[in-house]
């Protein structure tokens, strides 16, 4: 096909293309700039008034906070205050706050996530110097089994029997999983095993795992879908599921770890946020926590509830504290669990 001269033959058309292109360019630019207009929409930070508290928490306590927020609004100090909650995996939430997620009150599943915020200068380093050492609720690691406990799982030794399918979340993506592993490890130590033997136990436990979902809630869903015989989970999570009518039974292990969930106000928080935390730690607030399945930290309130008492209850401090444990056990490249998974995997990778 013959090509004509590239210049349009009609007079005056020469300015046409540039006008049109300019028009389109402006149109594009306007479209592209439109999202910036949304910045005018009050975001959580922008709409901040004294009557709003930004809560960033791990995923489990969301139902609890619905009740707690409503009850707080009925108190004097909480009148007219709304609590806007963001819930998600504990580690992600902590990182998000560092990355700019607006937060006045932060409540995580385990202490290292709080440490991230301290390191970033968002939370005061004296957060854990309060009467409750910065902890708002306790719980324990429990076994969740099928109704009636058909496989008679009552101890940690039962978990490593052949034919028992264990579900525990993946330790590298789930805070709950870390509690589970340390509960297992600590239980073995409490039974008099050496640390080498305890590590062997971890290897057997993971060998028996039929699933290691990426989060505690995914693990619960997996268990409820019919897979596995026992799920390792927070007691409060199990109690909540049971209250929702899910088909499961809860077995309290004879030895287990005390789960302590930290809470703090950020440095930029206003008086409403501090009042909210005070409420959460008050007898009234702690009672609500107890009703939701969490073990209150206030002894006076804890007595009102009848949570099962394991024979041996230890804390993470008995095992060296989270900072040391996190590196020693859970570093994804050099940690003990990584090595365990690797040696398990290398032998089964071909399968």
């Amino acid at each position: 096909m013959q090509t004509r001269s590239p210049h349009p033959s009609t007079p005056g058309a020469r300015s046409g293309p540039s006008r049109r292109a300019l028009g389109r360019g402006l149109g594009l630019a306007a479209l592209a700039a439109a999202p910036l207009g949304l910045l005018a929409v009050p975001t959580a930070a922008g709409a901040q008034t004294g009557g709003s508290v930004n809560l960033v928490a791990y995923s489990t306590p969301k139902p609890a906070y619905t009740t707690l927020g409503a009850d707080f609004a009925k108190t004097n100090s909480g009148a007219g205050v709304t609590v806007a909650g963001s819930f998600g995996p504990s580690g992600t939430q902590a990182t998000s706050v560092v990355d700019g997620l607006p937060a006045d009150v932060v409540n995580f599943s385990l202490e290292p996530d709080m440490a991230k915020l301290v390191k970033a200068g968002l939370v005061s380093s004296t957060w854990d110097k309060s009467a409750t050492k910065g902890i708002v609720t306790d719980s324990i690691v429990s076994f969740i089994v099928r109704p009636g406990n058909p496989k008679h799982i009552t101890s940690w030794a039962d978990l490593v029997k052949p034919g028992v399918g264990v579900i525990t979340p993946n330790v590298f993506s789930s805070g709950s999983a870390k509690w589970n592993i340390m509960a297992a490890y600590g239980a073995e130590l409490a039974l008099g095993k050496t640390s080498a033997q305890a590590q062997t136990y971890l290897s057997q436990l993971l060998h028996n795992s039929v699933a290691q979902p990426s989060s505690a809630s995914a693990a619960l869903q997996t268990f409820l879908s019919g897979q596995g015989d026992v799920l390792l989970d927070y007691e409060d999570d199990a109690l909540y599921a049971k209250s929702k009518g899910e088909a499961l039974d809860i077995v309290t292990p004879p030895q287990t770890i005390l789960i302590e969930n930290p809470i703090a106000v950020t440095k930029t928080a206003g008086p409403s946020a501090k009042a909210f935390v005070t409420y959460l730690l008050s007898p009234a607030g702690q009672k609500v926590w107890g009703q939701q399945g969490y073990r209150p930290v206030l002894q006076s309130v804890a007595k009102q509830f009848h949570f099962p008492q394991p024979k041996t209850l230890f804390t993470i401090d008995h095992l060296g504290g989270w900072t040391a444990v996190n590196t020693k056990f859970f570093d994804p490249q050099t940690g003990i669990v990584a090595h365990v998974e690797q040696s398990l995997g290398v032998s089964t990778a071909s399968g």
Partner: protein, 309 residues
């Protein structure tokens, strides 16, 4: 009317001139191949919509940069922030290697299976006719609109331990395959369907009437015409499968070295404050997928045979 006549009439300009129209292009074949054969300068002058050469491309590149290029650059920088040594350690870690292997092989197999299935489905949708066909057709896009977590949950319910079909795929590689097949099906069908629809059945009829067997018609006429589209669909399916997380992770059981896919391992790394390692493994995954996509693209061009009619 020839194409040119149609063009002229469409524009409402002048009387149609009898231009000896190019030999009929056959099923969807254009005269020009990949990139315009017109010399650059006149191509730019014929610059379609973007008369002022720089405005359009500049905007496009800016948009692309803000959304894709900058983040990827940040990812690369982050991956090497600990030096080459850390990068290599993260990439060669056995769990990472296992996850990458599993992901790539699964994606490949699924792309192949769904390419064949997609072709068959498209064939039925285009050439066959039965009650409810449009309903079926509309359904095909739904896996794509379904959020991956819902897909995962549903697949777990249907094909997991409590499956009504007594088909326990939970915690197995087959389960991964099922999830990936589910989410990639729309690509494979929709890439082929329009091409198939546009194919001129007359050529096949002509061939048949000239004595070609059904198989010959399939092999010599039909398949070569749709092969580029099938490959395009396969490429999209592969890429989607490689990055899939939500729908796979529930039914797979996420067991390291057995059913843990790359995106799950990357997620775990990012949650364990090992962001550079997560970036490193992501980079490797992207590179390999891009290579496969480029390869498929090359194969497409190679199979796009010019008209012989």
């Amino acid at each position: 009317m020839t194409n040119l006549d149609a063009t002229v009439a469409d524009l409402g300009l002048g009387p149609p001139s009898r231009d000896p129209a190019p030999a009929e292009r056959g099923p969807g074949r254009g005269r020009s191949r990949r990139y315009s054969l017109v010399a650059p300068s006149s191509a730019l002058a014929h610059a379609g919509v973007f008369g002022k050469k720089a405005a359009g491309p500049a905007l496009a590149v800016t948009y692309l940069s803000l959304l894709v290029l900058l983040p990827v650059a940040a990812l690369i920088t982050n991956a090497f922030s600990g030096g080459w040594h850390t990068f290599w350690a993260a990439v060669t870690q056995p769990e990472a290697v296992a996850a990458l292997e599993l992901t790539l092989i699964a994606a490949l197999i699924v792309a192949i299976i769904n390419s064949i299935a997609g072709l068959a489905i498209a064939f039925v949708l285009v050439r066959d006719d039965f009650k409810g066909k449009s309903v079926v057709s509309a359904l095909i896009d739904l896996p794509f609109a379904l959020p991956t977590i819902v897909a995962g949950l549903t697949l777990l319910a249907l094909y997991g331990a409590n499956s009504p079909f007594h088909l326990d795929l939970a915690g197995t590689r087959l389960g991964i395959g099922a999830a990936l097949l589910f989410v990639t099906l729309p690509f494979c069908v929709r890439s082929v369907q329009p091409v198939l629809a546009e194919l001129d059945a007359e050529i096949e009829d002509a061939a048949s009437s000239l004595g070609a067997t059904r198989r010959q018609v399939l092999r010599r006429i039909l398949l070569p015409s749709v092969l580029p589209a099938v490959l395009a669909g396969a490429g999209l399916a592969f890429a989607r499968a490689v990055g899939e997380f939500g729908s796979v992770v529930l039914i797979s059981g996420n067991i390291p070295f057995k059913t843990e896919v790359a995106s799950s391992w990357i997620f775990s790394l990012s949650q364990s404050d090992a962001l550079p390692a997560a970036s490193a493994v992501s980079i490797v995954l992207v590179l390999i997928s891009l290579l496969v996509l480029l390869g498929i693209g090359w194969a497409r061009r190679r199979f796009d045979v010019p008209d012989t009619v």
